[in-house]
């Protein structure tokens, strides 16, 4: 464990509790339960994840050095995190030298204030936005709205979500829970100047969005973007996209404000040669996405005259402080782990209550925003929102061992929630799971360790002490045969016996 901060003023703080979207309203099991009842959403999601999964598999298949690229990608990110202070300083001076202005934000509150001030000082009451998870994480749109500034999402899916007064359900295709008829209705209801005869052909819907946004792009004064990568050596930023709304936002306005998490840095420009191969194939299952933009500071006569970069902590340094959990900061947000996750496929993204759903969300969200000791903190339930089947690890382009991180977080949660009845059960689960992971590591995430067994989206009875815990929950999970095998193995029995003994001694 790596939670000793001897001689230091204390661990870095987590993201603040009441600003932004890193915590749901209710624990995962009950949120998931509601999602499971929505059969339309389940069908849409099933179709989407299945399609992207197959495309990804085909695209990865044709790259003979895929595994070597993954190893390089993982190492580049790990190296960047290991040298983060030095790289951040280098990045800051490179951006500054090229005419950019760098701002630092300790948390969501500070980042929102910085962006709002930049927009207000330029006299703008509207900003254009290009899909950025960081600004969603900090709740920027809501904060701007409270200050009288409207933020217009320009990514088609984000626009659908925004006009529908909704939350995104998928990192990559946020409106995947809406079908064409629903989208048409949303446009007719909410889009100013909409053609009243609009039909629900995706072509017509995209054309309508093009018309609506084009007028806005032409007059854009301020745009806010995220960034997929920041290059420490050169101060270059990069946005990877499909529709061209990113290019519009990065090119047309007078002022560009980019909000970037501090973990998005890679050391050198040449490192892009790895990520520009890993990301599109893992993400949309394409050899390359239609458009990628790169820019460094400001360029005379080309694009925005002013460039501001907001470097965001918001729980990232707290995540970095955990020697195990920091691995999650390597994530390049490709969403491949979502598309292969049997739990995500059934519950959808909203059940996770966070900007970051799915397997990566289950490990990143509790680390960014913390898991509180109270038994009903939704984030404390996230590490359990997995069957530990290991599919997420297999597809991750930067080799994040999500199953092991989940087990580690379960363990941490249990450590902190001693003395409650639930903690007792969770601790037993956790102990069992730790052994399971060791075993899993040997067998590389075979379908083992399905503590939350059941075969058809329903929990069936499990042996004590899990029984009490699982009976309160109704999680969709794949079959648990392999867990049972482990359970009946000598190792499994020993782990459980140990857990019971500790329980009897009242050690937890």
């Amino acid at each position: 464990m790596s939670r000793a901060f001897l001689g230091l003023p204390g661990p870095p703080p987590r993201a603040p509790r009441d600003t932004g979207y890193l915590r749901g309203q209710r624990p995962f099991p009950s949120a998931a339960h509601a999602a499971l009842e929505d059969s339309q959403q389940r069908r849409n999601l099933g179709k989407a994840t299945g399609t992207i999964r197959d495309k990804r598999a085909r695209m990865v298949e044709e790259v003979p050095d895929w595994e070597r690229l993954r190893s390089a990608g993982a190492a580049i990110k790990a190296d960047a995190l290991a040298r983060l202070p030095e790289l951040l300083e280098r990045f800051e001076s490179a951006v500054t030298e090229r005419g950019g202005v760098v701002h630092w934000a300790r948390d969501a509150v500070e980042a929102n204030e910085i962006v709002t001030r930049l927009v207000a000082d330029r006299g703008a009451d509207e900003v254009l936005k290009v899909k950025s998870m960081a600004t969603q994480e900090i709740g920027l749109n809501e904060h701007l709205a409270a200050e009288g500034i409207s933020a217009v999402e320009t990514d088609l899916a984000e626009l659908i979500v925004q006009l529908g007064g909704d939350r995104p359900s998928h990192i990559l295709v946020p409106a995947i829970h809406r079908n064409r008829a629903e989208i048409r209705d949303i446009f007719l209801r909410e889009m100013p100047g909409v053609d009243p005869d609009l039909d629900d052909d995706p072509r017509s819907l995209a054309e309508q969005a093009r018309k609506y946004l084009r007028a806005k792009f032409m007059d854009a004064r301020v745009a806010v973007s995220g960034a997929n990568f920041g290059i420490a050596d050169t101060g270059t930023l990069s946005v990877v996209e499909s529709e061209g709304n990113g290019r519009m936002c990065l090119t047309m306005p007078e002022t560009l404000v980019t909000v970037m998490g501090i973990e998005k840095l890679v050391p050198s420009f040449a490192d892009l040669e790895v990520f520009l191969q890993l990301l599109p194939r893992s993400s949309t299952g394409e050899r390359m996405n239609p458009y990628t933009s790169m820019w460094t500071g400001v360029t005379a006569g080309d694009g925005p005259r002013e460039f501001h970069l907001v470097l965001l902590d918001n729980g990232r340094s707290a995540t970095l402080a955990d020697g195990v959990g920091r691995e999650a900061l390597r994530c390049i947000r490709c969403s491949a782990c979502l598309n292969v996750c049997p739990v995500y496929e059934r519950t959808g993204g909203k059940a996770y209550g966070s900007t970051y759903p799915g397997p990566i969300g289950a490990v990143l969200t509790p680390q960014l925003a913390g898991m509180h000791e109270t038994r009903d903190d939704p984030n404390a339930s996230l590490p359990y929102a997995s069957s530990l089947c290991g599919a997420c690890y297999d597809v991750c382009p930067v080799k994040i061992d999500i199953p092991s991180l989940l087990v580690e977080l379960r363990h941490q949660h249990v450590e902190r929630s001693r003395y409650t009845a639930e903690a007792a059960m969770m601790r037993a689960a956790s102990l069992a799971m730790s052994s399971a992971t060791r075993f899993t590591k040997a067998q590389r995430a075979s379908r083992l360790g399905r503590v939350l067994g059941g075969s058809d989206g329903r929990i069936t009875a499990l042996p004590p002490p899990f029984a009490a815990w699982t009976s309160a929950r109704d999680l969709p999970v794949p079959p648990r045969e392999t867990f049972r095998e482990w359970w009946e193995s000598e190792q499994g029995r020993a782990a459980m016996a140990r857990a019971r003994r500790e329980a009897e001694r009242g050690e937890w």
């Binding site: 995706p202 529709e243 047309m252 239609p290 458009y291």
Partner: protein, 208 residues
């Protein structure tokens, strides 16, 4: 008062001190230099561009003007960057305006198309890289008009992404283009042409 910069950097340093990371070796044994023949690179890039829905025109250097005219056949008024080789337009019968920085974006929205050169192209992914040189122009030029005709020299087509990235000057504004703009946001149905040019045509010059 401590500023946010020092606080964040301080936290990051403490975080690493709390659990010191091991130094990392980066394995660079992935494919970086692939010497594919001209024919292989040509076949590959044509295949990829076609798959993306881009129009592809092959020509020899002396056929450039006629090929460009064919690629621009449905455009009456086009705009070109200041450094473009004007001989490419010898056979084009429409009107040509040269982008001065004064050309407003609304004016760009009025023209039918834009003709540019390109910096480097990756065959394996069918990706054309623009770097805002004087024969490619500022970024708005290749973004706002609805038709983009782009001339690619086969000698500037490289096999893979590492070879292409190595050709770039990082601090220039760079745009990577792999087919026309597209979205799959509605029920995963692919729709081509959202905000970028809805038509992309690539003229590949096989010699020079």
């Amino acid at each position: 008062m401590v500023n946010a910069r020092d606080v964040v950097l301080g936290r990051v340093r403490e975080a690493l001190a709390a659990a010191p990371p091991r130094p990392v070796e980066i394995p660079r044994d992935y494919r970086r230099e692939r010497g594919l023949s001209d024919q292989r690179r040509l076949d590959m890039v044509v295949d990829r561009l076609t798959e993306y829905g881009a129009g592809v025109y092959r020509c020899r250097a002396e056929e450039t003007a006629t090929t460009v005219a064919a690629a621009l056949s449905d455009a009456r008024r086009i705009v070109v960057p200041p450094g473009l080789d004007r001989s490419w337009l010898a056979e084009f019968s429409g009107s040509v305006e040269v982008d001065s920085g004064e050309f407003s974006v609304r004016a760009l929205d009025e023209v039918d198309g834009v003709l540019t050169s390109s910096a480097v192209t990756c065959a394996e992914t069918g990706t054309v890289f623009l770097d805002a040189s004087s024969d490619q122009g500022r970024r708005a030029l290749t973004l706002v008009p609805d038709l983009h005709v782009c001339v690619v020299e086969l000698s500037s087509v490289v096999a893979g992404i590492p070879e292409a990235v190595a050709e770039l000057e990082p601090t220039r504004p760079i745009t990577m283009i792999s087919g026309p703009s597209a979205t799959s946001d509605i029920e995963l149905d692919r729709v081509e042409g959202v905000h970028g040019p809805r038509t992309l045509r690539v003229v590949v010059r096989v010699d020079r």
